[in-house]
């Protein structure tokens, strides 16, 4: 943002570092998913969907900007959103592996988007009550967009699942492929638990059944089969252990400011 926002005072070094990490998680998910969605711009099968995906991408990137800016103000080391986005290595990114996977075909993009949007709505609803005011304010803004995004991605899951033989089969394949990346969404660590104790962040275990129900309803309506929830689940994104795909994404995203650090636009 072109406006300088003041630093945020936080009592205690541990809490400051937890809130900083937590905002990185929220912001990085949005940034990386927004980037993946933006790759469809000019490539989607129909014009309306091309525009829709670009719109959703912009929302996510805009949300990432507020949240990473907030992270920088919490950290208090003078880093703004641009600094955090362009000058961190993959190992310092805290997004879920789910969002960094290549966009795949349209069915894969929609499957991933629907699973994320269903989580986003639950997460933001819970964050509305966060005792950390800046996060509650972000949630009040984001929830409106998240509900709209979910309506869009859910409609596609149903339309493709309950569509032709080909679209049904591809939607099922996409759901099966992306499923092993959903376990990480609800894997709480010390940061989640500490922030939950202070009513700043939700209990991820409480969100899981609501998410599962929302996903189940749509999957049934789409005449698809829910993959096995007890199958092997990938993890590590929140700790900076990413797939090889994130590095490629970042190199494309970061090349300009890294080559010309003083560039402005």
């Amino acid at each position: 943002m072109s406006e300088k926002q003041p630093a945020i005072e936080i009592e205690g070094e541990a809490l400051r570092s937890h809130l900083f990490e937590y905002c990185l998680r929220l912001g990085d998910d949005r940034l990386v998913l927004g980037h993946r969605l933006s790759e469809w711009c000019g490539h989607a099968a129909i014009l309306e969907e091309d525009i829709a995906l670009a719109n959703v991408a912009l929302d996510f990137i805009g949300q990432a900007e507020y949240i990473l800016d907030l992270a920088g103000r919490i950290e208090g080391a003078g880093r703004d959103a641009d600094r955090l986005v362009y000058f961190r290595e993959a190992i310092d990114y805290r997004n879920l592996k789910l969002v960094e996977l290549p966009r795949g075909d349209f069915a894969f993009t929609i499957a991933r988007q629907f699973l994320f949007d269903a989580y986003d709505v639950e997460l933001m609803e819970a964050l509305l009550d966060s005792s950390f005011q800046p996060l509650a304010e972000v949630a009040a803004k984001v929830i409106k967009e998240a509900r709209y995004h979910l309506r869009h991605s859910r409609r596609w899951v149903v339309q493709l699942g309950d569509g032709t033989e080909e679209s049904h089969q591809r939607m099922q394949k996409a759901l099966d492929e992306v499923w092993m990346y959903t376990g990480e969404i609800f894997q709480a660590d010390d940061i989640d638990r500490r922030l939950h104790e202070d009513d700043m962040a939700p209990d991820l275990e409480e969100l899981r059944p609501r998410w599962t129900k929302a996903v189940q309803d749509a999957v049934e309506e789409a005449t698809l089969k829910l993959p096995d929830p007890d199958q092997y689940m990938a993890e590590g994104g929140r700790q900076g252990r990413h797939t090889e795909h994130l590095g490629h994404l970042l190199s494309e995203m970061q090349i300009l400011p890294r080559s010309y650090p003083d560039a402005t636009w």
């Binding site: 943002m1 072109s2 406006e3 309306e48 969907e49 525009i51 829709a52 719109n55 959703v56 991408a57 912009l58 929302d59 996510f60 990137i61 805009g62 949300q63 900007e65 507020y66 304010e137 972000v138 009040a140 803004k141 984001v142 409106k144 967009e145 709209y148 309506r151 869009h152 409609r155």
Partner: protein
Amino acid sequence: MDYEQTAAAGKEAVMDILQEVKDPEVPVLSVVELGVVRDVKLKEGHVEVVITPTYSGCPAMQAIREGIINALRSHGFDKASTRTVLSPPWTTDWMSEEAKGKLREYGIAPPGHTRDREDRPVACPFCDSEDTALRSEFGSTACKALYFCNACQQPFEQFKCI
């Protein structure tokens, strides 16, 4: 005039100037009518305009910030700045009936009220028919959806209600 009256008059003057700043994507509405301008603060010759984004991803926000600063400068307010706030979150309920009328005249179906039912029919801005269908949740900008009127066979955009 005492200080408070001067401040009130100054604020009103600034609001009048801001009426000249239009949304770059919907040029019939000013940033005030759109509800983007939340407050104006005057202090020792400095004007601060408090604004809120429509959608997180609205690429027009930067143009709006620059439009505000330029308009104020051209009226002699050399020390002007904007401050963006997220709370309370922007809603189309802040738009006046007059502003909604301007949208309709421009060919964009205005938003309903957030307390209305979600499946309430959207009337065509050209022929007023309610025999319309949603084509896409996303139109040419983040704030609009794409509809088609079965009566007059015209595609049109609706300002989404949020």
